[in-house]
């Protein structure tokens, strides 16, 4: 492996991509470290199944790695990676069909053992149930905007939808999820 320069500033995604394509395969591990958690939480919330999400994320990162030599948009690694992820999630959701599980237990069973396990599970459970009623385009837009905090232009590149359509989807999804969130909150406080 070529030694990496000792610098205070972390390498940009683009710099890491260049290193990978130049033969430093280990640089991709840095990109995996940077984006694996975000990919996993997105897939887990969209699919509602953590194990399925892990498979989808692995497949996504493998596809990204294999395609990196042909990848030209080096300044835009995150939307490029998420475009692959969103497509893999869509395929997995179709495959799972009616078997899709949308409970926090199926998504994150180990969390109950965490020190603040009760609160974590409760919050996540509420979110998963609140977004369960959204159709796929609205759930994608909602999670990428409110969850990941991406710009609309980025989400447009990822999903293929226009910015105006996405703004409408996020607004509708937000209203719906908020309503459901409040119902769940009321149920929980009774």
């Amino acid at each position: 492996m070529t030694p990496r320069p000792m610098v205070d500033k972390p390498m940009t995604d683009a710099e890491l991509v260049v290193r990978v394509v130049a033969g430093d395969a280990g640089a991709f591990a840095d990109l995996v470290a940077r984006y694996h958690a975000a990919c996993l939480r997105y897939a887990a919330h969209v699919l509602g199944d953590r194990m399925e999400a892990e498979d989808v994320v692995q497949e996504t990162l493998l596809r990204a790695y294999r395609s990196l030599g042909r990848y030209q948009e080096r300044q835009q690694f995150r939307p490029w990676l998420f475009r692959i992820l969103v497509n893999r999630c869509r395929t997995a959701a179709t495959r799972m069909g009616a078997q899709r599980l949308r409970t926090a237990d199926a998504m994150d069973p180990d969390t109950v053992t965490a020190r603040d396990g009760t609160a974590v599970l409760e919050l996540r459970s509420r979110l998963v149930r609140a977004i369960a009623g959204l159709d796929e385009p609205h759930r994608e837009a909602f999670l990428l905007k409110l969850g990941e905090g991406l710009e609309y232009e980025e989400i447009a590149r990822i999903t293929g939808a226009s910015v105006s359509a996405l703004k409408m989807r996020v607004k509708r999804a937000r209203d719906q999820v908020r309503e459901r969130w409040k119902e769940l909150d009321d149920d929980g406080s009774r």
């Binding site: 492996m1 070529t2 990978v20 394509v21 130049a22 033969g23 430093d24 395969a25 280990g26 991709f28 591990a29 995996v32 470290a33 694996h36 958690a37 996993l40 939480r41 887990a44 919330h45 953590r50 999400a53 892990e54 994320v57 692995q58 990162l61 493998l62 790695y65 294999r66 395609s67 990196l68 030599g69 998504m107 994150d108 069973p109 180990d110 969390t111 965490a114 974590v120 919050l123 996540r124 509420r126 979110l127 999670l143 409110l146 969850g147 905090g149 999820v177 908020r178 969130w181």
Partner: protein
């Protein structure tokens, strides 16, 4: 901050809580990626040459490997004979590596390859490589009667294979008696072995 913003923050907080098992899943991805050739174009390809594993002219690389393994064969045969060790599968007929301070090398036959590794003080040793998905659980070595020596016999396809040993589940080490890949894969140097058709190279 208005009520809407507070609700957005609450949702984002719930969404961004770490997913249990994320670190383990990430390690699995890294392990799976180790099987992959580096994503760069190369005009060199073929069973006898992994263009991503070593940065040499291919014919020179194969010639070098044959020479190194050939030297090792003599030393390994001498060592095996002198220690009276009974190592190797029925199909493994040729010793191709030499003894070193830590490793004794790889004995290759046409299809069965015997990996021998010396690891003083180890409680378990396993073999990882492109042939088993770099999975430390897949190919454990058995402790030989010689004590510090660990052995595994693995059927391999012909061609160039990268491999390493894992000591006590966490310490990765290349085979000191085999040639090293010129480039590290995910920060680790791996060893190389060539398996030919009908006999070792």
């Amino acid at each position: 901050m208005d009520h809407d913003d507070r609700w957005d923050d609450q949702v984002r907080d719930a969404y961004r809580r770490p997913i249990a098992g994320e670190e383990r899943a990430r390690e699995q991805v890294i392990a799976r990626l180790r099987e992959e050739p580096a994503p760069r174009r190369s005009r060199w390809s073929g069973w006898w040459m992994d263009p991503d594993a070593i940065r040499m002219r291919p014919l020179l690389a194969v010639a070098s490997l044959i020479m190194v393994l050939g030297i090792g064969a003599g030393a390994g045969a001498w060592w095996a004979a002198s220690r009276g060790a009974s190592i190797g599968s029925p199909r493994s007929t040729t010793v191709v590596a030499r003894q070193t301070a830590r490793g004794i090398g790889a004995f290759t036959g046409a299809t069965a390859v015997t990996f021998v590794f010396r690891a003083p003080g180890a409680s378990r040793v396993s073999l990882v490589g492109d042939f088993n998905g770099w999975n430390p659980e897949a190919t454990p070595l058995r402790r030989a009667t010689l004590g510090d020596t660990w052995i595994a016999e693995v059927p391999l396809e012909r061609g160039l294979h990268a491999y390493a040993f894992v000591i006590d589940g966490s310490d990765w080490a290349p085979d000191p008696s085999a040639p090293l890949a010129a480039e590290a894969s995910f920060g680790r140097r791996n060893s190389l072995v060539v398996v030919g058709e009908g006999g070792p190279l």
